[in-house]
């Protein structure tokens, strides 16, 4: 990094200082060695909109200081989009594949960064449209009609992306937020649901240590995501999901994650499923002493119904929650008070 700006390839370029030089400075960062020089080069060549191999390499070095610098990412994409200006040995598709490959390690190392994922999404979108040109702006890409897409190849590429996501999980953790959102985008955008249900089951349902993963709320959220698509696509239907949720919840009755999911499934207003969930909650109350999650779920269910029986149940449940959901006693008291007012 420190030596890059000293290379001969840069001898024609004068460094441009930043425009706050000479003014009182605030929150002045003690820049690491080499950073100011690299930025100085950038500020000079970006004025002339230079798209070149040395510009690309420059962005690589600058980004390694700050993967959140969205202007540098934009500049990098423009350099790639104008590849014809500085490479004659390659086509648009190959350039994108090279870039996706190049960005793999830094994505694995920086999964909390937003820009690395947006960059991948944009590149992949370009790739899927199999155009010989590439576009640096997602809005532009999206207005293109899809040209001849090799389905088989696209499926392979998507699979490769999903494998990258697994590597990210292994390297950091299975809650990595942007990673999950990127996976969802892949599934939704390319209708890539084949094997997705099997995959999620492998993570925590069909495994020995599945019990440790019951608390992984991201898995439950992913199941809900799959449920939001027709089961002919996603391979999962409401019955499968609820069966899994009840089976897993039985192993960890005190953990909130499967209960959030079960409570969420009430929204589908499927009579049979709702009954199954309600009965499970009631069974839990019998089998345990003070389970708050089961009661909160039943409260949610009964408080939405208008029958006298439901109203009685609601009152009874609130009383129990006040007694047993000790951490949130005052909350349930306030619910009780607002109910009395009604």
């Amino acid at each position: 990094k420190m030596e890059f700006y000293k290379k001969d390839i840069w001898k024609d370029i004068e460094l441009t200082p930043s425009e706050d030089e000479g003014y009182p400075n605030f929150s002045a960062i003690a820049y690491p060695s080499g950073y100011t020089e690299l930025m100085g080069l950038f500020r000079t060549i970006v004025i002339t909109k230079e798209f070149s191999a040395r510009a690309l390499e420059l962005t690589t070095y600058i980004l390694s200081f700050a993967y959140g610098n969205d202007a540098i990412w934009s500049y990098r994409r423009d350099i790639l989009a104008n590849y014809k200006e500085w490479r004659d040995d390659i086509d648009g598709k190959k350039i994108i594949e090279e870039e996706l490959e190049f960005c793999r390690p830094l994505t694995i190392a920086n999964p909390k960064n937003y820009q690395v994922w947006y960059h991948r999404q944009l590149l992949f979108e370009n790739l899927a449209r199999c155009s010989d040109m590439i576009y640096s702006n997602l809005d532009e890409v999206l207005t293109l009609s899809k040209s001849k897409v090799n389905e088989e190849n696209l499926i392979k590429l998507i699979q490769k992306e999903k494998e990258l996501l697994e590597k990210v999980f292994q390297a950091s953790d299975t809650r990595a937020y942007n990673t999950w959102n990127y996976r969802q985008w892949l599934c939704k955008r390319f209708s890539s649901f084949d094997g997705e249900f099997e995959w999620i089951k492998k993570q925590f349902v069909d495994v020995e240590e599945g019990i440790d993963h019951i608390q992984n709320n991201s898995y439950w959220n992913h199941i809900h995501f799959l449920l939001s698509f027709p089961s002919s696509k996603s391979g999962i239907d409401l019955k499968d999901a609820v069966d899994i949720a009840i089976t897993m919840a039985r192993k960890r009755l005190n953990n909130v994650a499967p209960w959030y999911f079960l409570q969420g499934c009430l929204k589908y207003q499927n009579e049979e499923i709702t009954l199954q969930i309600i009965n499970f909650a009631k069974e839990t109350i019998k089998r345990t002493l003070i389970n708050a999650h089961a009661r909160a779920l039943l409260y949610k269910y009964y408080s939405k119904l208008n029958t006298n029986e439901a109203k009685e149940e609601t009152i009874k449940l609130i009383n129990e929650l006040i007694k047993f959901d000790i951490n949130h006693k005052s909350y349930w008291v306030s619910i009780q008070e607002s109910l009395k007012k009604e």
């Binding site: 960062i29 959102n181 959220n221 909160a296 949610k300 951490n327």
Partner: protein, 363 residues
């Protein structure tokens, strides 16, 4: 069958024991007032003032180079932190205030709208663009310093907001050049419009549709449709709706409140079953406050967790006891304490990220 019965009985015994223990803890309430007052003395105010002042007026450590392109954020956190500590006038002279205001305005994109957030990109190049997040923090800095906002190019600002909002989905990208379009930028846009009292470029109905779609099955919010519910996204969602004046169109807010309250262990989590992190004392706490539930928070627990994350020598607050202090968690940790009416910290306007003192300028 006998085995299962034994297991169930054992489980019930354990539950009963835990229940009794929890009751005892609750019963120790008569000590609460004293304990709360005692805690107030444990905030190392002088050190924190020095910490924020240093991050504004002195050279800050190398690792912050990662934030160089959005340096306005560091200025914001430093000033906002000093404001919460009632130490603005103590630390920042009138001359310095004017110089900071000038620093901010020189990052404004006149004609194209918004603020760039730093000087790392030359203003005449095609990449130099207003950014919704840095515009939000720029405006906050101006308001904190009492600027009258007259130099803001309002027309260009609304053009920027209009161009950043997606016509179909209602969500926002951060700049005209393009970026991810998640709920954070819905909040930034709404806050900008609130501060300038101008919504002409902001399609409220479309924005509302997007935010609604970002609501998860547990009634909290994620970054976008189907995303996992998250305290930060929930802050952005509810704050936006409040600022847009559309919170009354949302049902089941008591359930959202309960979800947020469930995020408290000692400190707050960002998501279900994740670790506590001091910044969520603000993201979750602010919306708990907004929804009228701040008295349901275990204040002593939350404050104790934040206080345990202080660096009592250098000042500043950590994300969690195991890592180093930095300015982001220092600000949000303090902001989270302020929401609990801790000590003499300045009260906040929770959905704007400003103290009430600063926000009063907007009237």
């Amino acid at each position: 069958k006998l085995d299962i019965k034994k297991k169930m009985e054992k489980r019930k015994e354990e539950e009963l024991a835990r229940y009794k223990e929890a009751l005892l803890k609750e019963g120790a309430k008569h000590n609460k007032e004293d304990k709360w007052k005692e805690l107030a003395s444990k905030l190392h105010i002088k050190q924190h003032i020095r910490f924020f002042a240093g991050h504004l007026l002195k050279a800050i450590p190398e690792p912050y180079v990662a934030l160089d392109h959005g340096r306005i954020n560091i200025i914001y956190f430093a000033l906002a932190g000093l404001d919460i500590l009632n130490a603005l006038d103590m630390i920042v002279t009138e001359t310095q205030k004017e110089a900071i205001i000038d620093w901010v305005y020189r990052t404004q994109k006149e004609a194209s709208g918004g603020f760039t957030g730093s000087y790392s990109t030359p203003s005449s190049c095609y990449l130099s663009t207003g950014h919704l997040a840095y515009t939000y923090t720029s405006l906050c800095v101006l308001v904190i310093l009492g600027d009258d906002l007259k130099r803001v190019d309002r027309k260009a600002m609304q053009e920027l907001i209009r161009d950043c909002q997606d016509d179909n989905e209602g969500n926002f990208k951060a700049t005209r050049m393009g970026s991810e379009k998640d709920i954070r930028f819905s909040f930034c846009a709404a806050a900008i419009c609130t501060i300038l009292n101008d919504w002409t470029g902001f399609d409220k109905e479309k924005a509302f549709q997007f935010i609604t779609k970002a609501r998860s099955y547990d009634k909290a919010f994620g970054h976008g449709p189907f995303a996992e519910s998250h305290s930060g996204s929930t802050y952005c969602a509810i704050s936006s709706l409040h600022l847009m004046g559309m919170l009354d169109r949302v049902d089941d807010l008591e359930e959202t409140l309960y979800w947020l309250l469930q995020r408290q262990k000692r400190g707050f989590q960002g998501r279900a079953n994740k670790d506590e992190d001091t910044c969520y004392s603000f993201w979750a706490g602010a919306i708990i406050h907004q929804l009228g539930g701040i008295d349901h928070v275990k204040k002593i627990s939350s404050a104790s967790f934040t206080l345990s994350c202080q660096d009592t020598e250098k000042g500043g607050i950590r994300k969690s006891p195991q890592v180093d202090v930095e300015i982001v968690h220092s600000y949000f940790g303090l902001a989270g304490l302020s929401l609990l009416s801790f000590g003499n910290l300045a009260p906040l306007e929770p959905c704007l990220g400003l103290t009430k003192r600063a926000a009063a300028h907007l009237k």
